[in-house]
């Protein structure tokens, strides 16, 4: 278990101040709306602005972390002793970007969510399935390699198995 600065501890003072400011803003908006006798349209707009901002901030925080921490550099790399670019990851990445990008663009243009035909869903499923099968084969090989290496090391050291040594 790591003992990070905020693991299991109370929020720090600056975090508390930010939370209090956000709560005060929300209460202020709600109070203003009640005082002015807000209509359903106003409430919908305020609600959308509040929740839309929260979702946008979530997305911004994730994207910021991904970009700042160089986390995206491993998006096509197969983890292991010698990280290697994976073609199944690459093709899934390409199809996801293409279909998601076009869906977003057409939805914005149409002003409504556009339909996704079965053949396109099949394409996404095909690339996802290839990735899963590829990952399964790779993992299976790695597990077998670890077992073989462990067995070889045990034979070389001429030691009893772990089960015998554990009391």
């Amino acid at each position: 278990m790591s003992n990070g600065p905020n693991n299991g501890s109370a929020p720090s003072i600056p975090n508390l101040i930010v939370i209090m400011i956000i709560l005060a803003v929300i209460c202020g908006i709600a109070g203003y709306a009640l005082h002015r006798g807000a209509r359903p349209d106003d409430i919908a707009l305020i609600g959308f602005t509040a929740f839309g901002s929260v979702i946008l901030l979530f997305a911004a925080a994730v994207v910021w972390q991904l970009v700042r921490e160089d986390a995206l550099t491993g998006i096509v790399l197969e983890p292991g002793e010698n990280p290697k670019a994976s073609l199944s990851r690459f093709q899934m990445l390409v199809f996801t970007f293409v279909v998601a990008g076009l869906f977003l663009m057409l939805s914005i243009e149409a002003g409504d969510f556009v339909d996704i035909p079965a053949s396109v869903l099949g394409l996404i499923g095909l690339s996802g399935g290839t990735f899963v099968v590829s990952k399964g084969v790779t993992t299976s090989v790695e597990v077998q390699k670890i077992k073989t290496d462990t067995e070889l090391a045990r034979i070389k050291a001429n030691q009893p198995s772990d089960d015998d040594t554990v009391q």
Partner: protein
């Protein structure tokens, strides 16, 4: 659901945020921060004496992926240009292209599976 209710700033901010990810990925690929070595070769192992050799099925899958993605972009923009006033649905992917992609992906997976099987046989 009617998206006209949503504020344009929200939609465009979301698009910009989402666009940052592929832009950063492509930038990392071009500058070498995201290593792509080994994309066409199998992982080095005792059963693979020549790890630098390019696997044909990987090359085929790479080509099919780029061709499929490019072709789908072309037919989408082509239909967008002809649509009046706009498209109600993403275009259908032609069955022939889907079949070609499926075949190349199954070839890739089969090759990977048999290499793994050979690795196990050689290690046992």
């Amino acid at each position: 659901m009617d998206l006209e209710f949503l504020s344009p700033w929200f939609l465009y901010s979301y698009v910009v945020l989402l666009a940052i990810v592929p832009v950063r990925v492509i930038y990392d690929m071009l500058t070498g921060r995201m290593p792509l070595s080994g994309l066409f070769t199998a992982a080095p192992s005792p059963a693979n004496p020549n790890p630098d050799a390019i696997d044909p099925e990987r090359l085929a899958l790479f080509g099919a992926t780029l061709a499929g993605a490019g072709y789908y972009l072309v037919i989408t923009f082509d239909q967008m240009a002809q649509a009046d006033p706009h498209l109600e649905s993403l275009p259908e992917m032609p069955q022939e292209m889907l079949l070609a992609l499926g075949l190349s992906q199954s070839t890739y997976v089969t090759g990977k599976f048999f290499r793994a099987f050979n690795k196990r046989s050689s290690s046992e």
